[in-house]
Symmetry: C2
Subunit: 129 residues, 2 copies
Amino acid sequence: MHRSRIGIVLVDHPAESYDEAAGFWAAARGSERRGDASDPDDPYEALDAIGGGIKLELQRTGSGTPARIHLDIEADDVAAEIARVVGLGARVVDHHEDWAVLADPGGLLFCVVPVQTGADFAAHATTWD
Amino acid sequence: MHRSRIGIVLVDHPAESYDEAAGFWAAARGSERRGDASDPDDPYEALDAIGGGIKLELQRTGSGTPARIHLDIEADDVAAEIARVVGLGARVVDHHEDWAVLADPGGLLFCVVPVQTGADFAAHATTWD
């Protein structure tokens, strides 16, 4: 038995447009910027949650990559969640130590990651047998 | 004075992969499917909200278009919200009667639409002067 939910919405922009786009989304959201995502080991920048504790994050992606949005499914058992969604038709694209990038049946990328939203996760997660 | 918030997360797939992808996201979300989005006048299919009343919707897009996710900003004054985000650096791509497609400074598409989440909108919207 494990739990999961769609917990993070990530707005990904390559280095070329990141700073301008990050400034835009922070202002559009009415949120303070709390970093600049320029550290290659931590290319993320969190804005205020958008409801139900769902995180809105900006990611600085590699030069020349397309701007896009992807979803993170957070799970209290990442391996079990990966197995569940693979059983539903997803495929693993890139498996990291404790998280993975997957593609849905139409090739759309998403991630399965550990729980990041604390009490909001428990309040909104679905339990799978 | 008007209010807005990020209210809808849309998963867009072209006709070629729509049905398989829609089935995947419904199962991944643990949500019933409530339509098939095959009506060209209504290519949307709603899944259960993902928290804070934020809607998760599937959209069947045109043949050959890329799979993608886009965000809808809902607003109680669409024209005022469009003017606000254009002032922050967005550009209007396609202006419909009561909603618009825009691009952020990095070319990422999003929409500004009328309020669709009822009481959840009022609970989570930001007020702009």
